[in-house]
């Protein structure tokens, strides 16, 4: 039940991390996350304004480390954080679409730097969203309300950019997430155009991932994108509550719908401490809990494990991928 087999690939639900919480262990309205070294993960929680916004630093082994940052306009604070990315030193870059700035922190949450001016001129930002760091520690910033992508040094010096408002190739409508593949190609979740566009590192349009002839691969307000080492493309299909997977050439492979049948250990602790919650879970079909609800950001690690953060379920589901899978005989 928890395995999706398609086109010679297997996507197996492994486990999940997270639970609903207003501080400490758990997340609240995660918008994005970043995978650090030694199994560290930084989860960017939009929270509910003043009180629950924070970056949760924890490990993939469910160990909570610390809460970083809080609501506000001062250095190291956030109002509407959208995305988080790490450079090669594991410094944190966080975009804030309200303050129109990028904040830089070290991995312990110490404030290092901030940059970004509000506006529409080259180098200025309006609603900065998705972030991606390239191998030279330069930063691609999705400048969402300016309908473009801009590339900066880590210190905020403009290196280039492309895009304008529209629906043609290389144009955007309120784009959101972004990622790079192993060759430095750039993928942008073109949110309000319901597609993902692929570009060369310098912004030349290469391809788009959009509707399929039968409709099943259609995207509805995609927010995040990731590419594995085989070139398969994973899209957080926010509006459809799915993750869509495409072959490198854009051919649709399959959808994942969420499989979190086994709760995270944090969730399990909570259930164990609450007999009435345990009872309430027994009296109903829990399948609805397994399924994605607002998958918003997708990431891959070095072993092609897929991580999917869900804004409304406050967790990250983890999938493993197996290639060249030989099916068992059908008459077993």
């Amino acid at each position: 039940m928890l395995t999706t087999i398609a086109a010679g690939r297997v996507f197996d639900y492994s486990h999940c991390i997270g639970m609903y919480s207003t501080s400490g262990v758990g997340f609240l309205a995660p918008m994005d996350f970043a995978l650090g070294s030694n199994g560290t993960v930084y989860v960017l929680n939009r929270g509910v304004d003043e009180i629950t916004l924070r970056i949760s630093k924890c490990t993939l082994e469910h160990e909570f480390i610390s809460d970083i940052g809080r609501y506000g306009v001062a250095d190291g604070q956030f109002v509407w954080p959208m995305a988080i990315a790490l450079d090669s030193n594991e410094n944190l870059y966080v975009s804030d679409e309200n303050l129109n700035r990028i904040t830089v922190m070290d991995k312990d949450g110490q404030f290092l730097n901030k940059w970004g001016d509000s506006g529409s001129d080259a180098g200025q930002l309006r609603g900065p969203s998705g972030l991606a760091v390239d191998s030279d520690d330069n930063l691609y910033v999705v400048d969402s309300m300016n309908h473009r992508v801009q590339k900066f040094t880590g210190e905020g010096q403009l290196l280039g950019g492309w895009g304008s408002e529209g629906s043609g190739p290389g144009q955007f409508c309120k784009p959101w997430g972004i990622c790079l593949d192993g060759n430095g190609s750039v993928y942008v979740a073109d949110w309000k155009n319901d597609r993902v566009q692929k570009f060369s590192a310098d912004g030349r349009f290469v391809a788009e991932f959009k509707e399929t002839s039968d409709g099943v691969g259609d995207l509805n307000r995609p927010t995040g994108v990731a590419v594995d080492s085989d070139g398969d493309v994973y899209v957080a299909d926010w509006g459809n509550h799915q993750v869509k997977i495409y072959e490198p050439d854009g051919k649709f492979i399959c959808s994942l719908v969420g499989d979190a049948e086994t709760p995270s250990p944090w969730v399990q602790d909570y259930i164990d401490a609450n007999p009435d919650v345990a009872k309430a879970r027994r009296r109903t079909n829990m399948e609805v809990e397994w399924r994605f609800n607002r998958p918003i950001s997708v990431k891959l690690d070095d072993e092609n494990r897929l991580y999917v953060a869900e804004a409304v379920r406050h967790r990250i589901q983890v999938y493993t991928k197996e290639k060249e899978y030989a099916e068992a005989a059908i008459n077993l």
Partner: protein, 467 residues
């Protein structure tokens, strides 16, 4: 070019059938005509009036938080920014009539789902709406219909359906309540996963045949094997129901009536108006849109300007719409939601199933101070887009004598009508600064400052408390 009277009438319509409108919108609508605007208001699109993708992009907490204030904030956002003002206003009307409170339901997403149902169904027809209400999980829980079982009835829903939601006290018997309750046995809520610890899940309506009383009932003189739908069918055919709903609509949209508990003994302020709404109800088969059309196009409505004390939600939302500083996603909507509560209308948490008392009962000392300060602060801030537009409107009128200045301010911020005493006081204040002129940067800056002060004073008047 619409006349001053056209604009004043349009402002009245938009205050009541919506949450107010900017001067530019009023002029535009007045140019299209009153009846055309009524038509537009009565025929909103099928959508909710808000781009929900944008809404949840900027406010993910609206979908994911479990806190009451997140639900209240989402609703305030919708009231301020909806494309379909009457649709949203009707949601507020039904919320005030079918008062359901989070103090018991303790489930803000379900409360919001109930409001969404009011938005979707609130302009359809009354029997349909009552069936949806009877099947609404928040309502089922609020009035204990999940505890209403075959052979062991709980009368709470049956009683309030008749007393507070349709016919009004005195038009049915205690036996009718029992029989109605029997008909709604087995109308309950399906189990769902608990909201903790991975976030919200929604209830659903569930009909349990084994818990339903299929036996014969006698209800309001009718005999049959009635179920809930049949009971509602009988209820909506009663003229008492038409009168009850008419009086609620009149109280909400036209002019303040005595409080509901007094309706049995106090006749309506305008019996003829109620009669015409009852007629529209009976002739249309309880079609809500048809009744509203009669209401908004009637003389009794058009002549009822400033005969209704703004509810806190009306005051808060119409003031920020006037100030123009909340017409897109931004921070601070939470404060608006709190403000409604602090002024005495905590959305989705009325004090009881008898709802808030309206009219002058919205006002006590604390609430009045809050209302005055809230509106005066916003409308005196000449940096806000809506206030800027008012100042620009003054500037267009050129040099103004103190009296012209006061009249122009009253006009552009409403038009607001004040009594002679209030006018004289405002005038005496304006006279201290002499004429308003715009001929140099200095005088313009001073005129702008004086406009801010004058708008604050207008916001502080008694008259401003009325819609």
């Amino acid at each position: 070019m619409p006349s001053q009277e056209d604009i004043a009438l349009m402002a009245h319509l938009m205050r009541r059938a919506g949450f107010g409108a900017s001067r530019a919108e009023l002029e535009e609508r007045a140019a299209r005509g009153y009846e055309a605007t009524v038509d537009e208001l009565l025929n909103p699109g099928a959508d909710s009036g808000i781009d929900e993708d944008e809404l949840y992009r900027y406010f993910p907490q609206f979908e994911s938080s479990l806190a009451p204030v997140a639900a209240q904030t989402e609703w305030v956002y919708r009231m301020v920014n909806t494309r379909w003002p009457l649709k949203e206003k009707m949601a507020l009307f039904w919320h005030q009539l079918f008062a359901t409170g989070n103090s018991k339901v303790d489930n803000p997403p379900e409360m919001l789902a109930q409001v969404a149902m009011f938005r979707e169904e609130g302009m359809s027809n009354f029997p349909n709406l009552l069936v949806k209400l009877a099947q609404n999980p928040a309502m089922i829980y609020w009035l204990d219909n999940n505890g209403n079982h075959y052979g062991s009835i709980n009368e709470n829903w049956g009683r309030e359906l008749l007393e507070l939601f349709s016919m009004g006290v005195g038009h049915y018997s205690e036996d009718d309540i029992k029989e109605a309750s029997r008909a709604f046995t087995g109308w309950t809520i399906g189990a769902k996963p608990p909201r903790q610890p991975v976030g919200r899940f929604y209830w659903s309506f569930e009909f349990r045949p084994e818990d339903h009383d299929y036996g014969q009932k006698e209800f309001l003189g009718n005999v049959g094997n009635f179920d809930g739908d049949d009971i509602i069918d009988i209820i909506v055919k009663q003229e008492d129901t038409a009168r009850f709903l008419a009086r609620h609509l009149y109280n909400f949209f036209v002019a303040d009536e005595p409080q509901v508990p007094a309706w049995n003994i106090t006749p309506p302020n305008d019996q003829k108006a109620i009669d015409s709404l009852v007629k529209a109800y009976m002739e249309s088969g309880a079609d809500i849109n048809s009744i509203l059309r009669v209401l908004f196009n009637s003389d009794f409505f058009k002549n009822a300007r400033f005969a209704h004390v703004k509810s806190p939600a009306e005051l808060v939302v119409s003031t920020v719409k006037m100030a123009g500083n909340y017409n897109q996603p931004r921070t601070g909507f939470t404060q608006l939601a709190f403000e409604c509560g602090w002024q005495g209308q905590e959305l989705m948490n009325p004090p009881s199933v008898e709802s808030w008392h309206t009219g002058s009962e919205w006002i006590d000392g604390g609430a009045l101070v809050r209302r005055v300060n809230f509106a005066a602060k916003l409308l005196s801030d000449t940096s806000l887009p809506g206030v800027k537009a008012i100042v620009a409107g003054l500037k267009e009128r050129g040099t103004l004598s103190p009296a012209e200045f006061v009249r122009a301010c009253l006009d552009l911020v409403g038009p607001v009508e004040v009594d002679e005493g209030t006018f004289q006081e405002l005038l005496s204040q304006a006279q201290q600064g002499g004429d308003i002129s715009w001929d140099s940067e200095e005088t313009s800056a001073d005129s702008e400052r004086r406009a801010g002060v004058m708008l604050a004073l207008i916001a502080a008047t008694r008259e401003f408390q009325f819609a």
